[in-house]
Amino acid sequence: MSAVVTADGLGKRYRRRWALQDCTLEIPVGRVTGLVGPNGAGKTTLLGLVVGILTPTVGTIEVCGGRPAADSAQLAKVGFVAQDNPTYAGLTVADHLRLGAHLNPRWDDAAARRRIDRLHLDPRQRAGQLSGGQRAQLALTLGLAKRPELLILDEPVASLDPLARREFLQVLMEAVAEDEISVLLSSHVVSDLERVCDHVIVLVDSQVRIAGDVEDLLAGHHRLTGPRRDPATLPDDQDVVWASHTDRQSTYVVRTESPILDPAWSITALGLEDLVLAYMEGTAAGAPASPALEVLR
């Protein structure tokens, strides 16, 4: 299977701080990938590197088979909806469409106009006067109408009310169904991602903790509850991601491919949100941090 994004040892440093380090991953084509992590984890940096607005300090990255922002053809393959949905406040909605038409070779003007109609946006209204949700929809329309292979969204729904958020995701998913594009979106709200993503990357403290297809990840992780036990006594093929102890009881989140046979454990399934939280908390609580694990597909 070909990958739409391939990163190898990718890192980005600002003065003395590493915003992203040791990033090695492969995002398969045709997926909706969620990039999750706490604020400041490096999500915007990683997305900036994929889009080509930032250049790496170390390592390499390949997007849709080419170097990001290398030339006009490469730029045409990637669409970007940046954080806060930047638009030109003084330009009208129609002006933005003309902007796209002039600057993109594969611009689909008919589709763009249809979307604007369906969203009930007034083409003559200035972008500065639109509501937050409408601006987000405009930015999404601009990103989709250039017919990219990969669409990248940085916290697209963070500042939207629940209705606007739902409408945004509806439009996005419909476009994925219709145009078969790959999507990479970042969020620090996991519950949105659960319905929309089939591939997920967890980024904590500038490093990738885990990445893989949601199905495989959920199948390979389990929550074990039972009498108090030391992590060292667990079998080798069980990687501890997260642990919590009371004086009598231990709860572990482990990752394993083999079945869990110890009858002392009561096993419960994990949802995506619980899984992500386990990885986010696990490194903070001092449980053995797993290195950048990846599910190979």
Partner: protein, 343 residues
């Protein structure tokens, strides 16, 4: 990209060009009458109305300020605005490389600036030409073209200044990423440059003419007593030349102070003293000539270093070339910064 640049630029463009057009209309209306006046009268300065003088000095003020204003107000926000509002993230993701994006913006801005300032300076130069350097019996005169004040607002240099200010503003805006601080810093640097160039650079752009002359009654222009008590001599210079230095040199050719015996040569101030003093004055006058010839015998000459008035256009082109070269360097830096450093 041309369309987008125009669309973003539209309001400012129209505002500036409307003002330029208005100024041209007014100058065109008053110009011919003024030219006729200057043609028919030598002492045209006396005949100028206060409106004309106001326009003359006003033209200086506008042209002094216009290149800087246009350059800074168009240049500083050109990129800085996109950086501070975040719209660069939208622009740089369209299928156009950063280099092309900047090239379109800069190209358009440079062209618009050069044309606007070019029109303005042509109009003002044409209008002021008959009366530049006009003198009359009244006290005062209008500055001639070569003097630093007027030079900066005639001919071609304002275009060079404006393009320079524009590209300086763009680069500072790129580095600082904020429009308003960029405007302030650009203004400061621009003013510093505008003070330094006439002082240290312009005199040397075209080799100045040096003449040495004997100080005689005919060439003497004035004897000046400075507050420090020293005396210096100045000789005549032709009207319209830009005097760089007017100094006495001794027999060996070095700049020298006047010998101490010279102070006795001075006639007493007019109107003071008795008729006997007046007689003494006449005889001293004769002795002034004697002093001057004694000065000449001892080898003292007056050296004049100046730019003659026919150096006006060579100086203009040289200085414009200088500023345009500096602008090209700034443009190159801007491209480098955008592509390499803004990541």
């Amino acid at each position: 990209m041309i369309w987008l640049t125009w669309r973003q630029f539209r309001t400012q463009f129209i505002a500036v060009y409307a003002l330029v057009a208005a100024a041209c209309v007014w100058l065109a209306v008053t110009g011919p009458a003024l030219a006729r006046l200057a043609r028919e009268n030598d002492d045209v300065y006396d005949l100028l109305t206060s409106t004309d003088r106001l326009l003359f000095n006003g033209g200086i003020a506008v042209l002094a300020v216009a290149p800087a204003v246009i350059g800074i107000f168009w240049g500083a926000p050109l990129v800085a605005r996109e950086l501070e509002t975040g719209t660069f993230r939208l622009a740089w993701n369209q299928s156009i490389t950063r280099g092309r994006w900047l090239a379109a913006k800069l190209g358009f801005a440079v062209l618009a600036t050069a044309v606007a300032v070019g029109i303005l300076t042509t109009a003002v130069t044409w209008w002021a030409h008959p009366i530049d350097g006009a003198t009359g019996n009244q006290h005062g005169s209008l500055a001639s073209r070569l003097t630093p004040i007027s030079f900066a607002m005639r001919g071609v240099v304002p275009v060079g200044y404006a393009v320079f200010a524009l590209l300086l503003g763009t680069l500072i805006g790129l580095i600082l990423r904020r429009s308003v601080p960029a405007m302030a810093v650009t203004l400061a640097i621009y003013v510093a440059v505008q003070i330094a160039v006439p002082l240290w650079v312009r005199p040397h752009l075209v080799p100045a003419t040096t003449t040495t002359m004997v100080i005689s009654h005919g060439t003497l222009d004035g004897i000046n007593l400075h507050s420090s008590g020293t005396l210096t001599i100045t000789t005549h210079a032709s009207r319209g030349d830009w005097i760089l230095s007017n100094r006495t040199i001794d027999a060996r050719g070095h700049s020298a102070a006047l010998p101490s015996w010279f102070s006795t040569c001075l006639p007493p101030p007019p109107g003071a003293g008795s008729p006997q003093d007046k007689a003494a004055a006449t005889s001293t006058n004769g002795s002034l000539d004697g002093c001057l010839s004694r000065l000449a015998d001892e080898g003292y000459r007056q050296r004049l270093v100046y730019q003659p008035r026919n150096h006006f256009w060579p100086l203009q082109w040289a200085e414009t070339g200088l500023y345009l070269t500096a602008s090209a360097v700034l443009a190159g830096l801007s491209f480098w910064w955008t592509r390499r450093r803004l990541s």
